[in-house]
Structure formats: C-alpha cells, structure tokens
C-alpha cells in the first residue's frame, strides 16, 4: 500500500498556501485601488477609448475636456475618473456600471463609439445617470432610443451630412457617386446625405460601401467612381481610412471633385494626407479657422497647453465640460438636477452658438462648408459657407 509521505502533502499545502496568499494579496490590492477618494463636489466619469484604433480620439476629447475645466479654474470642483472603454460594447458597459455603482459618479461624459453607446443606453436610462455624449453620432441615440438622461454635445450622423446634400444640389452639383465604409455609421451618413441631396433636386447615380476596417486599398472603388461620370464623389471616411482614401484619390489624379463629411479632412490628421487634400470640400461642425473671438481664444489656450492645433474632437470634449459647468452653475448638484439642467444649456462656444434641442436632447449647431487649402506650407481650412442652427427632426423620440 502506498504511503503518502508527510513531505508530499507538505508540498501540496505549501503550493496552495502560496497561491492563496498571492491571490489574497492581489485581491486586497485591487480592492484598495478601486476605492475612490471623494472630496470634490461633482464626480465625473470620463468613458473613452484609450487603447485601440480610436485612442487618438479619446485623447483629443480628454484634452479638450481638461482644458475647459482648467481654464475656468474649477479643478477643485470636479473629480474626474477616467475609464478605458476599449471601443468594445461589453467593456464600455462594464466600466459604465463601475462608474455608476462603485465610483458613484454624478455624471458620465465621453463615448466615442456608437456601439458602446448602444450597449449603455438602457443602463443609463434605468439608473437615471446623466450622460454627456462627446462623440458617438448614431442617429438613434437622439431619435428612437433617446432618453432624458442622454444629452449629446457632439453631432448626429444626419446633422453633419444633410446640410451638405442640400448645399451641393443648390450649388450646381447634379449627380453624385457615394462611398462609405460598410457599417452602421457609414450607412447613416450616406442615407442622410442622399435624402437631402435628392430632395433638393440632385441624383445619386452610384453608391458603394467598402468593407469596414479592412479596406486599405481604395483603388478599385475610386476607379468605379470615376467611371460613373458623376459631377462629384461624396464620401464618409474617418481616421486611417480617410488618410488612405484622400491620398489614393490624389495619386490617381482623378478629375471628379471630391466632397465629404468633414471627418475626411479633419485637422487631427489632414497633414498626413498631404497635397492630395487640397481642394476637398467638406461639411463639419467645427473648423479651427473659424473667425470668432471665442474660437480664437480657444485655439490660443489649446496651443499653449498642448502645442498642437485642436480638432473637432477636442472641441467636443471642451464643450462637454462647458455644458457640465453650466449645468452645475444652474443648480445641478446631483444626478437628478444635472439631468434636468443639462438640456437647458446654451452658450456661444468655439463652434459658434449652440444649444440643446429639448425634443431630442441633441445639440443644435452651425454646420460649416469648407475647403482644405495650403497656406504657408501648412494645410488649413477655408470657410466657404455656413449653414446655421442645424436641428434634427424628432424622428421617433419620445421623452
């Protein structure tokens, strides 16, 4: 019969004891690291991607947000708790729950991805925590799926593109070929443009959606677009895809003019596009060359602090903080009062005049039509026209 030696069991026990000690230590460590020290008046949860393809946007929005609070000298009044959504809906939702249940924030700001926003929507609505959306443009969030607790200070996909559709049709462009990545936002952007363009008398003679995230080579699509003989090509692309698209458009020396929603030539990355971006006409809710005192002051402050030109993402973060501070000033001390005050915010910011539409809780703002031009060796934006106070339809929103 086998006899198990004492030292055999000893080894087992030692191994398990060490393991348990290790993990208990880890437990305590993690537990402690999650206790938030609360001493300021308003707790804000900043939920943005800090890793992944859109980390640059997350950082830009954070920079704008922090600048606003610093400028106002109100760092003491706000405790900002930062969480990485990783652009993944389950992760974003888990972090949102942590911010609400564990950190007990008064308000959440941020959200770049419409997927994350969609995952969070029911939770936000049910836990009655105000959310200031600083990017995600899904139309439904201020349409069918709107909520009195969700306020958007960035843009809706339709809002950016409708004005361009109308403007192009009214300015001599008769036929258009559209291109966009094949995902929800791409479809929403193009749908909004097409409806407005057709309503104003134009005709979309061809439309293609490129595989999302995979397409790096737009050669085949550009060739198709050119061959269609349209008066213009209208596209929605952002980030790395925008850079590639514009560069490749330039390299093919395509004669058809290129139009787009402004993410195509966003100040955040237009430099990477080089000369190919010159002459591209787009619509966006903010351009750094806006000639207003508010914008000039903003640019000066941003450049002083970050040594770079701000992009529309930075402005969205900036305005999110401005909206929050305005709500606090009007009596927002807890979740309920903040939720009540946020939709009532209105002021003139770097983008121009803005307010929140009580019917949808979406921002009402100017949309600017601009060309990308080269000045003093640097790519910059030249304003062509302003479409004032663009407001979304209620589109099924009931609050």
């Amino acid at each position: 019969m086998e006899k198990y030696n004492l030292s055999y069991w000893g080894t087992i026990v030692k191994t398990i004891a060490t393991k348990l000690a290790l993990v208990t230590g880890l437990c305590l460590n993690l537990g402690f690291s999650m206790i938030s020290t609360a001493s300021a008046e308003t707790k804000v949860g900043l939920l943005l991607p800090y890793t992944g393809t859109y980390a640059a946007l997350g950082n830009a929005i954070t920079e704008g947000f922090e600048l606003a609070i610093e400028e106002a000298g109100r760092e003491d009044e706000f405790t900002v708790i930062v969480e990485d959504s990783e652009m993944k809906p389950p992760v974003g939702l888990a972090k949102a729950r942590k911010l609400v249940y564990q950190d007990e924030v008064d308000v959440i700001a941020g959200v770049v991805s419409s997927g994350v926003l969609g995952a969070m929507r029911d939770f936000i609505h049910q836990s009655q925590v105000p959310l200031i959306v600083a990017n995600a443009g899904n139309n439904l969030a201020t349409g069918e799926n709107c909520s009195p607790y969700i306020v958007r200070v960035s843009f809706s996909n339709g809002q950016i593109n409708r004005p361009m559709g109308t403007w192009l049709a009214e300015n001599g462009v008769k036929t258009i070929y559209t291109l966009a990545p094949d995902y929800a936002a791409g479809h929403q952007m193009i749908d909004a443009f097409t409806k407005a363009f057709t309503a104003a008398g134009g005709e979309v003679i061809g439309s293609e959606f490129t595989p999302f995230g995979q397409t790096k080579d737009f050669g085949p699509y550009l060739t198709n677009a050119q061959a269609s003989g349209a008066d213009g090509i209208f596209v929605f692309y952002a980030g790395g895809e925008a850079i590639n698209f514009v560069k490749q458009y330039g390299s093919f020396d395509i004669k058809t003019p290129l139009y787009g929603s402004g993410f195509l030539t966003s100040p955040l990355y237009v430099e990477a596009e080089g000369e190919a971006a010159i002459g591209v006409r787009a619509s966006l809710h903010y351009i750094p060359t806006l000639d207003t005192p508010e914008n000039k002051a903003f640019i000066k402050a941003f450049q002083a602090k970050y040594n770079a030109m701000p992009s529309e993402y930075a402005v969205q973060g900036y305005d999110a903080a401005l909206a929050l501070m305005a709500a606090v000033d009007n009596g927002g001390v807890d979740r309920a009062t903040l939720a009540a005050q946020l939709p009532r915010v209105s002021y003139v910011g770097p983008r121009g005049p803005l307010e929140i539409d009580p019917a949808t809780n979406n921002i009402v703002q100017n949309i600017y039509i601009y060309d990308t031009v080269m000045e003093n060796g640097v790519l910059t934006q030249k304003m062509i026209d302003t479409v004032p106070s663009v407001r979304d339809d209620a589109a099924g929103c009931q609050m």
């Binding site: 030696n5 389950p90 249940y101 997927g115 969609g118 029911d122 995902y183």
Partner: protein, 335 residues
C-alpha cells in the same frame, strides 16, 4: 489522456473559491471582472477539449459563442419567446454550427485546420455584422436574464448572477471532464495522437471529430449565454477572430490539455490586464512579455508547469522511497 487528479480538483476548487470570495468581498467592479473571467474560462475549456485533447486548434470558438448568444437574443428579444426555450435554441445553434464546421474540416489538420476555422468564424462574423435587422455592428439590446424568482434567486443582483456563473463554470468543467474520461474522450485523444491508426481500428474519425466539435460548441454556447445575459446586449464583436485568439492564448498560457489550466489562464490574463491597465495604457506589451516568459520557462503553461514540477518531485520522491537503483533514467527532466 485526461485524468482528474487530486491536484487538479484541489486547484479547481481553490480557483472557484477565490473567484467567489473576490466577487463577494471585492468592489462592484470585481464582480464584473469575475464574470469576464467566467466567460473566458468556459470558452477556454471548450477550446481545450478540441485543441488540447483533439489536436484541433480552432479560431472559430468565439464565433460559436457569438452564434449561441445571437440565437438566444433573436428568439427572446426579437421574437419574444420565453427565456429558457430561447436559451436551448441558442445552445442548439452552437452545437449545429460547430458540428458542421467540424464535419466539413475533418480532413484538414494543423495550420490548415486553424485557417479553415478562422474562415468560418469570419464568415459568421460578417453575417452578423451586415445584418441590419440584428442591429449590424451597433449590436442588439433588449436581452433579459433568466427569471429564477421561483427558486428565490434574483438574477438582476450582480452577486447572485456571478455565483450562478461560477456554478455554470463548474458544470462546464464537470461535463467536459466526464466526456474526456469516457471512451469518447479517449478515442479523441487517440485520433490526435495517430489518426491513421484509429482509422485502421475502424473508428470513423471524421464523424468523431465532428461530434467533438459539436460538444465543444455546446460548452462554448454556455459561455455565449452568460455573455448575453451579463451585458444584456450583444454585438458582432464576440465573433471576431481575436476573441478566439484570446481564448487560445489563455489555454496555452494556463496549460494545454489540462482542463484546469484554461481556468487558471483566464484568471491570470484578466487580472493582469486590469491590474496593469490601472497604471498604463500600454498593457499589451506587459501581457506580451508574460506570454513569452511563460513559454521560455518551460512551455507547458503556468498550471501545466506547476503540475509538471509536482509530478517530478513526486516521482523522484517515490524512487528514493522504493530504493530504485541508479542507472535507470528518469524521464521528464528535459526542457
């Protein structure tokens, strides 16, 4: 061959107790982490069955999990069916899809098998990504958790949900262990070691592989159901190959072919990720270093390596005990 050794049982129980305590006494977020671990651990167990024992390394298990989650969500949220039957449909969908994939790829091996499963996984992903009626890449909400109030369990309470999740993890492990110890499991290991010989013995290896994939699909489906009920929202992300890639990493990190290893691997990876990301955004690099280190340290995965050391300690011990004469080389000290 799979043996449910004492050491494995003890480690598993210890892991479950650790997770339960962490969830109970840790912060709110601790429960989120534990559920994340549970889902990944169950997925990894299902993958270990195919890959560790069957030699079929699959990159589509994340997709199978996603199929179960979507089937469940479609039946319950979209078509309004009651929850339990919807869950069964979800599991059935996972079984059918994985069984089909297993059957169709029965002739492929090694890297080719991996790529074939990748292809199917990506096809499933593209299908859900492009389905507007399922929300496309924005995903689908409106999912509810099981109503277990009849037996006094409030599923919307995160702690209860976590405990139940741990129960499902134990169940997944138990079922897989049972199957692997049975004749079916031994045949599967046999096919992995020498498929031609098994064929010569009259085994229909293609059918066997398909069945193994189908069963592993069932386990992966359990993970999918938990994932859907946890966030009450699903998106096509679950189906991207990187989810399966993460499960594979966890299996290899913990110990391929040990069934307990994947659980340990999941705990290690998720905890490491959260701990490191508290300090820096560049946590990928740290995880990468850990992975490389694990391989350099012996290549059996963390749990596998510990098991190996214990076994060699034990066998050296018995030799001294039984006064085995020198000159007989002890196998097992080679790196």
């Amino acid at each position: 061959m799979f043996y449910q050794t004492k050491f494995r049982s003890i480690t598993l129980i210890a892991a479950l107790i650790f997770l339960a305590s962490y969830a109970s006494f840790g912060s709110y977020f601790a429960r989120e982490i534990v559920v994340e671990i549970i889902i990944l651990a169950i997925l990894a167990i299902s993958l270990d069955l195919c890959a560790g024992f069957g030699g079929m390394v699959s990159l589509c298990h994340g997709a199978i999990m996603g199929v179960a989650a979507y089937a469940f969500a479609i039946m319950s949220a979209k078509l309004g069916w009651p929850l339990f039957p919807s869950a069964l449909i979800g599991l059935l969908a996972a079984v059918v899809v994985s069984g089909l994939v297993g059957w169709v790829t029965a002739r492929t091996n090694g890297i080719f098998f991996i790529m074939a499963t990748l292809a199917f996984g990506q096809m499933a992903y593209t299908f859900f990504f492009k389905s507007r009626w399922l929300g496309g890449d924005d995903g689908m909400g409106g999912i509810s958790r099981f109503d277990l109030s009849a037996i006094g369990l409030e599923m919307n309470n995160s702690l209860t949900f976590t405990y139940l999740g741990l129960g499902v993890l134990l169940l997944a492990y138990g079922l897989t262990a049972m199957v692997m110890r049975s004749g079916f499991g031994r045949t599967l290991s046999g096919i992995h070691v020498n498929e031609d010989r098994m064929k010569a013995l009259g085994v229909n290896t293609a059918a066997h592989r398909a069945k193994a994939m189908a069963f592993s699909g069932f386990i992966a489906g359990l993970a999918g159901l938990i994932a859907a009920q946890h966030t009450l929202y699903i998106s096509p992300e679950l189906l991207i190959w990187t989810t399966s890639g993460e499960a594979l990493i966890v299996v290899i990190l913990g110990g391929l072919g040990t069934l307990v290893g994947p659980v340990i691997g999941a705990i290690l990876l998720i905890l490491m990720k959260h701990e490191i990301s508290d300090y820096t955004d560049y946590w990928h690099a740290f995880i990468g270093l850990v992975l490389i280190f694990t391989v350099l340290a012996g290549g059996r995965g963390v749990f596998g390596q510990i098991e190996y050391w214990l076994n060699s300690l034990r066998s050296r011990h018995h030799d001294t005990d039984n006064h085995q004469t020198a000159g007989k080389p002890q196998g097992g000290d080679h790196a």
